[in-house]
């Protein structure tokens, strides 16, 4: 079984989010980058599934060489080889087209993405890939098992879950519950250095949309403290002042 895991390189969850160039681009100065936490779940599950089925795991990333440390970490976790499409990840449509172009030539059985990236929160790549490759895509998986060429997937729905059976190949966006993120061990880190990281040129993709400006939300006013012996006052304020109950 051949598995492709799509990785996004995102600011660490503790990063302060600021912008430069008159609020038109993200300020990456001093920001630590990590594998998108949902992609880490995808990667961990891919490594487990490949071990069960004697399969292989390829990771793919669209980005510049500054992402190589993140890619090496994925190799240390257990991916067999890596591909980097050498371009700024302009937007989800661009990224999905790059990945689909590569995937078409390499016949993967399973393509995993995180349910969304924690920077642009788009959750678009999985659906775009499904459409571009003309295969099923499942947006928010909480559980993923493979039995020969069939996947059993639990998908998150409002107030519950849906259990489905889908024939491979498929695209799955993984969420918490699919796997526990793996921490690379020393042997993994050593072998990651010698694994293949292929760098490919991007294909041309038209621009459909573009972020032109960022704003940070206005800060809230001072907190109004209410005495713990007087919770009725809170109820009153929520009713008459905040008008939320």
């Amino acid at each position: 079984m051949k598995i492709l895991v799509c990785l996004s390189n995102v600011p660490d969850t503790t990063s302060k989010i600021t912008f430069t160039d008159n609020n038109t681009s993200f300020n990456s100065a001093g920001v630590q980058y990590i594998i998108n936490p949902y992609d880490e779940i995808a990667l961990s599950r891919a490594v487990e599934l490949a071990a069960e089925a004697q399969g292989t795991v390829t990771v793919i990333h669209v980005g510049e060489s500054s992402s190589d440390a993140t890619i090496r970490k994925a190799l240390a976790v257990g991916a067999d080889d890596a591909v980097r499409i050498d371009s700024v990840a302009r937007d989800a449509w661009f990224v999905a087209n790059q990945i689909a172009h590569y995937a078409k030539a390499h016949a993967f059985d399973l393509i995993l993405t995180g349910r969304e990236s924690i920077d642009y929160n788009g959750a678009q790549v999985q659906g775009f890939l499904g459409e571009l490759l003309e295969i099923p895509s499942i947006s928010i998986a909480k559980k993923l098992d493979i039995n020969s060429m069939e996947a059993s997937v639990e998908r998150e729905i409002e107030g519950g879950k849906e259990v489905m059976i889908v024939s491979l190949p498929i695209v799955v966006g993984t969420a918490e519950g699919v796997a526990e993120p793996k921490i690379p061990n020393m042997r993994g880190i050593m072998t990651a250095r010698t694994k293949s990281l292929q760098v490919l040129d991007p294909i041309a993709v038209p621009v459909l949309s573009k972020i032109t400006h960022y704003d940070t939300p206005a800060p809230r006013g001072e907190v109004k403290l209410i005495d713990k012996a007087n919770v009725e006052q809170l109820v009153q304020l929520l009713h008459s002042e905040a008008k939320v109950i």
């Binding site: 929160n121 729905i157 409002e158 519950g160």
Partner: protein
Amino acid sequence: MSILVYIENVEGELKKSAYETLSYGKALGDMTGEEVTALSIGNVSGEQLEKVGKYGVKKVIEVNTKDLSHFLNQAYASVISEVAKNLHTNTVVLANSFSGKGLAPRVAAKLSAALADGAISLPEISGAAWTIKKAVFSNKAIATEELHEQKKVIAITPNSLEAKVSPVEVTVEKYEPQVLPADLSTIIKDIVRATDKISLPEADIVVSAGRGMKGPENWAMIEELAQVLGAATACSKPVSDAGWRPHEEHVGQTGLAVTPNLYIAIGISGAIQHLAGVSASKTIVVINKDPEAPFFKVADYGIVGDAFEVIPQLIEAIKAYKNN
């Protein structure tokens, strides 16, 4: 030229997010002068479909074939784009719900449309140029995005735009789409839904608790508080990681981002990752025994006190308020 609003149902019932999309479509139609049509897929009663008119949309296309009684991502995306093509639709509006997130990119790709997902505003339209706002970096920032294509798919964040009532008469038209067998290949084996629970992404009020609750056995009072308020329950990451509560209740940067009218945080210190997922809530109440908890800095109202003392009193106070 037209606007098509896909209205999602949950087991045959139109939910709040469907009304929000209808109201959005109606407002957009008022801006562009285009006709607005709603599309319902699945087994939704005529009585439910009548409700579409309450939000100013006059026409519903109803697709209710046997193969499509349950949500199937590929098939539903095909139907939406087929109807959009028939109606010469420029803009498709849908909810950025769990299912909507799967549909939106597929529909956009089929129509070669620009996709604005997670929209939190109506577009600003100036000639052919549209800009729209969406939350990014898990609510830590708002991005303004330009849509360059004539065709657009807009997936709106639940709870971010109010459904405005503006009643009109509705006509329902049945339609049988051409669905390819390949689009129906997914087999749905089981659907498990806790019907007595309020859906977290759509909830007006969320009661959320953290490690300050000390253990899963203490959640009864959180559930009771949620119940008296008609709220959904949520939790912080350490709580779901410890298995005290299910993952789907985890709100924060790596969990669900929520935007209720009222978010009540109990025994949650307010780590930056948690705040990211909840900071767009309209009103925030924090109950924590540590007066230095960072959550107080982003709260509207706070009580410094032990949850085990404050919550039972709060439950009684709300019951008293509701009885009046």
